[in-house]
Symmetry: C2
Subunit: 382 residues, 2 copies
């Protein structure tokens, strides 16, 4: 598979609830690569959204789904208890506490079929590995597949399954951890350490994700061997972003540097700004497994957004959230590229300069630049 | 203060128990900047070691101390319980379980005086901020001071105290977390996210630490705005490294990718390879505060090293430990520089080529992979 969908090494990470069609189209139109988050969409919505996106951009884009990771057995009492634990919040928000917990949709197969039918350039997925038949169907249609790895073991498992590329999601990343093999706590590897090891272990195109706040980090992850930087949080303040005003205000504030890992909102561990819900919903017994927790907190998150209350919103953000800027997405893409280029040139000059400095100051080694590109250390002839 | 001590942007992070005088001298002699770990040395040892180091290199080097962080009140029962918790391990190792726990030395003031008298080019410190008078004494002697920050708040506090430079220690880093303001769990920020924010918040020279396994990451942290890469783990397999054989073997094995944060060895949180002690000593009630835990586990660590048993050794390692190579330190420095330079040039070319696409919307572009792994973006010839 070729990387012909990738012009600039800038990918808009799929952000459910934040990545509007306008944002995805704007990033793709600016030369980046937009990915439409479809994990929370019905099959019908996927069909409609991809069709709308095609009218908004003639450039390539991707679609993201969560691989089905519903537990095979769910204790209804656990879900009911988690639902009841939210009663006080509903009262505070003035919304109805239904007797029965909301039930998450069970439409993964339909989603897959809808994506295959919609034929985006790229299919990306999170939380695991689709079964062999599913991956084969994408391959047969020439759709480039990208899985999400948070450890080298996950990267190797995905490579073995035949994916075409990998997101290497470092511990800095905002929103859901893609972890699917070891426990999340044992799978928190910084992007700087993760990316080179995933490159070495798989030799696949790696899209670095996590902590990429501006062009400096874009240059950095390319130096690590990534083919592109996957950026979420730094597009959250884009003009086209769909986040609630309270979320936007939190991102603009000093709070943005205080992120935590929480299962409170969806039942799966995700990184976001600390707020009342992340502080008060910590006991595992209070939280239903994914996707049940996600279903039962939806009414609360919706009401909180409408009422401008950030204390009950999932305020997903990565550890470089402070670096997010408010601008049209196209300007953000352009600035990322300009800054990355300036930094890369600066580093190249610095390394050249320090090499020649060494040649003068230190008599033990002479350093020269060879005609190709390597720096060669050699002992002086004397 | 000038950075005249820094020729190549490669710093040997201070590694107590691993950084021999030979290793520090070798890195400095190769054009890098060696830092001698003195946290566990007596004032007399500091005097002797610095004097020996001066004979081993005519190039600049630094010295590191832990800022005094002994709790003002220590419950003797807590220490005794932690000591007794180790009885079974001593039996297993065949060493004496003393009736009284070992007492950590209380010689911080003497260490400071010894470092001032030894006058290294650079004084680096960890675990907090020395008092104002102490920092003034270093400043008056023209000794460059570098503090250690794991968060932006710590970086700002150190800058306010008047340090000349900062280690920005990302969550990937091996060995002790330098954290001194918020709890460690709330201070685990990936290097990729931390460095640019520390640069922005302080405008001081930043030495990036954590997860820098090879030249790719050296180029990356320079792109992030660091003046140099501080590297520990990737010097652990250097010929001059002083680690025990069992530790060296663990680093060479697949175990090296499995690091955990533990307080088992010193009472302070540090990152190392998982082993029996990190697995079995997890209950906070079993662990005395630093430096008491460090004192009471010393005989166990020493015996384990002598007996070639990695299960009771502190196997400090960062998250990029897999990338460590066995070679003389000078060769490691040279290879770091060569790889960093090659990567920086590659990224510069990539970004230059792709930035020509900026602004050219709705055009199809062609992407190909060139023979040396660089991704080259170019417009179609038509």
């Amino acid at each position: 598979m070729s990387l012909s969908f990738l012009d600039l090494p800038i990918v808009l990470a799929p952000m459910g609830g934040a990545s509007t069609l306008e944002l995805v189209a704007a990033v793709s139109n600016a030369g980046g690569f937009g990915i439409l988050p479809c994990a929370y969409s019905t099959p019908e919505q996927i069909t409609t959204q991809v069709s709308q996106l095609r009218r908004a951009t003639r450039r390539p884009f991707g679609v993201n789904l969560f691989v089905e990771s519903r537990p095979s057995v769910v204790d209804a009492h656990d879900v009911a208890r988690a639902h009841d634990r939210l009663r006080a919040y509903r009262e505070e928000l003035g919304i109805v506490h239904t007797p029965q917990p909301a039930v998450p949709p069970d439409h993964y197969r339909g989603q897959i079929d809808a994506v295959l039918k919609a034929r985006p350039d790229v299919f990306t997925f999170t939380f695991g590995i689709p079964d062999r038949d599913t991956l084969t169907r994408f391959r047969d249609l020439g759709i480039f597949t990208i899985g999400t790895a948070t450890t080298v073991d996950e990267a190797v498992a995905l490579a073995d399954a035949g994916v075409d590329g990998l997101f290497a999601q470092g511990s800095e990343a905002g929103a859901h951890r893609g972890t699917f093999l070891a426990p999340v706590e044992a799978s928190l590897i910084g992007t700087l350490a993760l990316v080179p090891q995933v490159v070495d272990a798989t030799h696949l195109p790696v899209f670095a994700a996590g902590g990429i706040g501006d062009g400096r980090a874009v240059a950095a992850v390319l130096a690590l061997g990534a083919v592109a930087a996957a950026i979420g949080t730094s597009f959250l303040l884009a003009a086209e972003s769909g986040i609630a005003v309270a979320y936007r205000n939190a991102l603009r504030s000093k709070r943005s540097t205080d992120t935590v890992l929480t299962r409170a909102f969806s039942g799966r561990t995700a990184r976001g700004m600390a707020n009342r819900l992340t502080q008060e919903l910590r006991d595992p017994d209070d939280i239903a497994p994914y996707p049940f927790q996600n279903a039962i907190t939806r009414d609360i998150r919706t009401a909180a957004g409408e009422q401008g209350r950030s204390d009950f919103l999932s305020l997903w953000a990565g550890q470089a959230a402070k670096l997010a800027k408010e601008a049209p997405a196209a300007d953000i893409v352009a600035e990322l590229m300009q800054e990355a280029q300036a930094r890369a040139e600066c580093v190249t000059e610095t390394l050249l300069a320090s090499s020649s400095l060494l040649g003068r100051k230190n008599r033990q080694y002479e350093l020269r630049k060879d005609p190709i590109r390597a720096i060669v250390f050699r002992r002086p002839s004397t």
